[in-house]
Symmetry: C2
Subunit: 234 residues, 2 copies
């Protein structure tokens, strides 16, 4: 076991990137860091991995401690391992990624002692270390997932307007969409089922609500890979 | 900095999952472990991350040391962090993933002092620790990537037969394909350009060679997400 004895041991941390959509804006959850260095600066929800703890368990523990959020399904994203990313001591950070419905968790978050807050992706404050880069990577991951799975529609409320769909896609993919063209394409997919009622809160004329036809959506997603029926891709 | 002082430091390793296709079989590269515990057992190419080394650099260094492979683009996959995955001392392992053309690197690998060998995915020997699980995850990752990007066709030689395409897809997605149906679908995509010459090595009648129409392939891949032109997804 000599080989082991000679190695360096490193600090290992987790950082959680929690994205949410509130019906208007794509947001990310941040918290004020509670210890030095960079105390009181905005940061992702992070902490060290304990000796008997898996990184997954560490991520859940940290998220609950700092925000009150429980039972959030987080998936591992990537490791940030630049040797000088933490000025005090080398720390490898494993990032975790989740998408949540902001309104569903509003109350849980508000009751916490730490100051956790949602920030629009366009208005992220200055962050500690490489956390901005982590969020950037989280956004790419979101696009990647959104290209394979119906996750963006799942971020929307049960019924939603076309404006909300466009807003969400524009923010996730960082593009300005031609609304007419987008609506035409969307309508041709038959993914959305027009409802009878309208949202009258945000315009005089009102905007029809839509619901997702989940079956068609799922089938559509398989279509580009229709060589293989129902590939297991994770 | 008290918070830092109290934490545990952990061993951090990298393990490299190198997939290749030799025209017939999807394979993974393994090496005989050179130190205890489990010396001389088959293993992925792995090693510890040095104090001043990024995990990416460690992965490249380890791969070159053990197999001679240089300039292989590897992407980070996931962390295996179960507290008892290594029986000697807790070690977090960051896995890296690459797809290579086996024939292109044949010579590099043969010249090395360590015994590296390609194994068909169907015939993987007993492996150390959780390396089998790592390969399983690598396979899921391969499917995931293959659903978004033209990577499977890139594993094929410049010209290839339909049998090779089917073999590759069957092995990656672990399915038995209806060959006629698959060929019909494939032909309708216009992805492949039939060549004038035939492979006569593997059947009397011979099988026509095909080449990939990369432009159509790329366009097709965007099609399922045609709301957004050229989304940047990583």
């Amino acid at each position: 076991m000599k080989k082991y004895a000679k190695q360096s041991r490193l600090l290992v941390a987790v950082d959680c990137i929690i994205f949410g959509f509130d019906g208007f804006k794509l947001k990310v959850l941040l918290v004020k860091r509670s210890f030095e260095p960079e105390k009181d600066k905005w940061s992702l929800m992070g902490g060290f991995v304990g000796p008997q703890e898996s990184p997954e368990n560490a991520a859940s523990r940290v998220l609950t401690q700092l925000t009150g959020l429980k039972d959030v399904y987080m998936e591992q994203m990537r490791v940030f391992g630049n040797p000088d990313r933490d000025p005090i001591e080398r720390t490898i950070s494993i990032t975790y990624f989740a998408l949540i419905d902001i309104h569903k968790y509003e109350k849980q978050i508000d009751e916490q002692q730490y100051h956790a807050e949602w920030f629009s992706l366009k208005e992220i404050p200055s962050l500690i270390f490489d956390h901005k880069q982590m969020i950037e990577h989280g956004k790419l991951n979101l696009r990647y997932k959104a290209s394979l799975h119906p996750i963006l529609f799942e971020l929307l409320p049960d019924k939603f307007t076309l404006t909300q769909v466009i807003d969400l896609f524009e923010q996730v993919f960082d593009v300005l969409l031609d609304k007419r063209n987008f609506n035409r394409k969307l309508s041709s997919t038959k993914l959305l089922v027009k409802q009878k009622d309208k949202d009258k809160m945000h315009s005089k004329k009102g905007a029809y609500y839509y619901k997702l036809n989940k079956k068609i959506y799922k089938d559509k997603f398989g279509a580009f890979l229709n060589f293989i029926s129902n590939p297991k891709i994770g």
